[in-house]
Symmetry: C2
Subunit: 355 residues, 2 copies
């Protein structure tokens, strides 16, 4: 049997807290029996919840913490009050000390990112972190980053997002040379904000073996699955992600309304129920729950705060896959290859000048 993957959980995070986290851990364990958990949180609340899942009792260790980062705490506030002692901090710190391989939290994104940066620090040669989302497409699944960590990323940062996203695509989907596109707008005249244009040039020049840069993509290319990895700065990426979620909910509401309007429609709905169930499953946001924090010295997974046990289990399994498939060393390798490519290009240019 391969070595266990140890996952630290911020057991107090999320709208529903331990009552959602513990059953989520139990679900993930059923499917990945080689997970071991360290749960950080209120021991008195956690113990009976864990005891309800016999398999979990043997696979989980509870570490008591008193302080909870609330869903509406500001990042600065969370750092001030929760550093060193909150369940969120402890879960992240376990990755730093090596007690865990990956941390999963459904706590608030701003606090989780601030604490992760403070505790884990940036990887060598990466300036800013990114949050990567897995985006269901008509072709399968793509990776979109950054969806909210680095607003106004510059061209070098966009390039490192491309390298990290490609590493994640290899780790998660086994794609050897993922296609990568830079998100841009379609109006010719204004095509390419400066940063995006420069990033495009850098990616083209580097001509990396580990990713296939294919050019600009637009908003509607994300859902089409035109590329495996969509790269953008955090403002536009966050807006795109939320807008897509909103549109999916909106259409689901239209569909519900339409199907309950007449008796014939209701009957049709009953007959086609398995088809609707399949559609619902396709559109289920829980299935792709989990944003991956990239660029830090350790993997942290952010689950939706409002998710249920099933969704939290998906986030845990995403963390599992990231460790099992060596995300961090793939990123490190990608970054060093990119830098070597840059160095080679400079050398070639210098040799050219000398001649």
């Amino acid at each position: 049997m391969p070595q266990s993957i140890i996952i630290s959980l911020d057991a107090m995070g999320g709208d529903a807290g331990p009552e959602m986290v513990v059953p989520g851990a139990a679900l993930a364990l059923e499917r990945r029996p080689d997970i071991r958990f360290v749960l950080y949180g209120d021991k008195a609340r956690l113990e009976p919840l864990v005891a309800a899942h016999p398999a979990l009792v043997n696979a989980a260790k509870i570490v008591h913490t008193d302080v909870v980062v609330r869903m509406d705490d500001k990042p600065s506030q969370a750092l001030r009050q929760g550093r060193g002692k909150s369940s969120m901090w402890k879960a992240i710190d376990a990755v730093k000390t090596g007690e865990a391989n990956v941390c999963v939290s459904a706590g608030n994104t701003g606090a989780l990112m601030a604490m992760s940066k403070f505790c884990l620090r940036m990887m060598a040669d990466i300036e800013r972190p990114a949050i990567a989302a897995i985006w269901p497409t008509t072709r399968g699944e793509s990776i979109v980053l950054d969806v909210g960590a680095t607003v106004g990323a510059d061209s070098d940062q966009l390039v490192s997002f491309a390298v990290m996203g490609a590493a994640m695509s290899r780790a998660l989907f086994g794609i050897e040379r993922p296609t990568v596109g830079l998100l841009n707008v379609g109006v010719e005249e204004i095509k390419g904000v400066e940063e995006v244009r420069t990033a495009a040039r850098l990616l083209k020049e580097a001509n990396l073996a580990e990713l296939d840069y294919v050019g600009f993509v637009e908003g509607d290319d994300i859902g089409k699955g035109t590329v495996d990895v969509v790269v953008t700065e955090g403002f536009a990426g966050n807006i795109a992600l939320k807008t897509a979620e909103g549109t999916a909910k909106q259409i689901a509401a239209y569909l519900r309304q339409a199907m309950s309007r007449t008796w014939l429609a209701k009957l049709g709905y009953i007959l086609a129920k398995s088809a609707f169930d399949r559609l619902r499953e396709k559109m289920d946001p829980r299935k792709v729950n989990g944003g991956v924090f990239l660029g830090l010295n350790g993997v942290v997974i952010k689950s939706h705060g409002g998710t249920d046990a099933e969704g939290f289990a998906a986030a845990i399994e995403l963390g599992y896959e990231m460790v099992r498939n060596d995300l961090q060393s793939r990123i490190a390798r990608g970054v060093s290859l990119y830098q070597r490519a840059g160095l080679d290009a400079e050398l070639t240019a210098e040799q050219g000048e000398e001649q």
Copy 2:
């Protein structure tokens, strides 16, 4: 009978050109018999098309032009080759000279915007144009701007977009004091790029009678219809629009697949057909076809290039409504009220200092 609305059409624009434009004009005329058209384009091609619609013969004048702006022309190229003589330029120029009240084109967006700016120039006290889109929501319809004209708008420009969007909401939907939100990202720490934050302060301070500024909104608020007018700079707005379009198409594809998978699903689909038709109609992008160019000395409507006659008719009718309900003077009034509010605020501040 009220005075006719005269609409100039770039009859050569769009993927399908005159064969789409002329039937579109005929459809719009059926529903709004007080429209009069001036069609700019290849007379030999247009005449037989117009002749096929008896009502249109009496309501449309054809003006021959030789030059066509192609769908893939760059804006600079279009200006160089088409200025003064292309069907697109002539249709815009008709608004400038007063021969028409509004121009509608399905030609390429970049060229149309470049020509419109060059020909019509900016309105007094407005620095940059915006493209406003009508966005179907679960509550009805909202206006989102800018969806691609001004990438990286600054805070003053965002404020003028708010004022223009509110004017359009009043003109189109008759909402006396539309609610306005600034599109932003949800992560606390990074909430508010500088420009968005400053625009929020300016809108709060101005406390305008003609719009109700309610604060920041996120991507998923657009589809919910949280506010009547969503304001953003052109990059994020364009990405949001295209992403929503992509998501809608993606879900429609899922639904088609699901409904054709089993015999039971197919039967259910047939029984619920009227419900599906209703859903399709709700999601029909043709119904809300038409981006409104705001901030210029004249109204120009951009239709989707790939639309059909029905969609083009919707763009024409949108232009009609904008003129019928005095969009331009509402914008001018909104801008001057905002400036007076700013002046008042300065005076109050000065008086405060003097005391």
